[in-house]
Symmetry: C2
Subunit: 210 residues, 2 copies
């Protein structure tokens, strides 16, 4: 499956020391990984699927704190805290890598190189999350597509091979699928982007958009 190939990328970036203690777990749609109030014991990395991290108020009001997708960590706060102050639920069939917080703590204390790697890893997550944030702050679907290509695309033409469906992509951009289809068609016609199959790249024309 395509998934395993993609997955390897960021799992391999995990410090070796961690992969020893980590184990993967699978959840079906709707299953909860942990619940608000549980003792915080582990940090998680989404290998495949999607986990929604939510917090409930006193009267049951729900707030979404994070949509963790493939490659995203969640619950790294377990390093500090004693109890989860949020719940994590798989929104579809999902596989995660479960990393015991105690293992990370020990490594942080003992292994200097690991500390650097971990800091580096958090930094990466921070950067990509910030980029997503700025992307959603943009008005207009075209600007977001362009921003995505500029930040996630590789090579001189900012090429991106979409791992998943355009549906998923639309959701990631914060727009509905129909809008994405229309936007991509318009941008392609205007020469702003080029499309071949599931590959997107910037076109020759410079974007004249904010």
């Amino acid at each position: 499956m395509q998934g395993s190939g993609e997955t390897r990328n960021f799992v391999e970036r995990l410090p070796d020391a961690l992969r020893a203690t980590a184990q993967s777990r699978s959840y079906r749609k709707g299953a909860s990984v942990f619940n608000q109030g549980d003792v915080a014991q582990a940090i998680y990395l989404v290998l495949d699927g999607e986990v929604r991290v939510v917090r409930f108020g006193v009267r049951g009001e729900e707030v979404i704190l994070q949509h963790a997708r493939r490659g995203d960590f969640f619950a790294e706060a377990s390093l500090d805290g004693h109890h989860y102050h949020c719940s994590a639920v798989a929104t579809k069939s999902t596989t995660v890598l479960r990393i015991p917080a105690s293992a990370v703590r020990e490594l942080l204390d003992r292994d200097v190189r690991f500390a650097r790697q971990w800091v580096s890893l958090l930094g990466q997550q921070l950067r990509t999350t910030r980029a997503r944030l700025e992307r959603l702050a943009l008005r207009g679907a075209a600007s977001r597509v362009r921003h995505y290509l500029m930040t996630e695309g590789v090579g001189p033409h900012h090429e991106v091979r979409l791992g998943s469906s355009l549906r998923q992509f639309a959701h990631e951009l914060g727009i509905v699928e129909e809008t994405l289809y229309r936007t991509l068609a318009r941008m392609e016609k205007a020469g702003l982007i080029e499309r071949s199959g599931s590959t997107l790249r910037l076109g020759r024309k410079l974007a004249s958009m904010t």
Copy 2:
């Protein structure tokens, strides 16, 4: 000034060891903190004002990677990298705390407690950034206001004292000021929120919105 008081909060959370080597610097609107290609020497924390972190493509295309406001770090990637692959420009009169990357690296290597603190700090940034991200993913101004109160508000009523103007607040929510005024008025009338001066809190009624 109000600023100093607010600022203390997160500056005081900085590990003591860092505050020794850090120094604050001021930039006027439009001044650049560092430029793409410069040698990466420091990590920054915005004390007041705003810094925009951008990257330029080969043909001059610009992408915004981060809008760093009070309390946000930027350029923590300096820990790994040798050169900045982005530029940072003050968008208004701004004061930042400049933290030499070498100092952080040394501390990471030497001081185990510091490593934990730093990891914890990054984790906080990550969490608040994620929350912002999910907020912008919400449709509708009211949902975003509610999300903001739920995530940033304190106490049983999720109270928030707005440090800045409603203008600023609107911008933070990714909507224009007019929309925010109207939305707040509508929500207050509906009993969803309560307002007294620059303080906002959730109302008695439960929000019946997604």
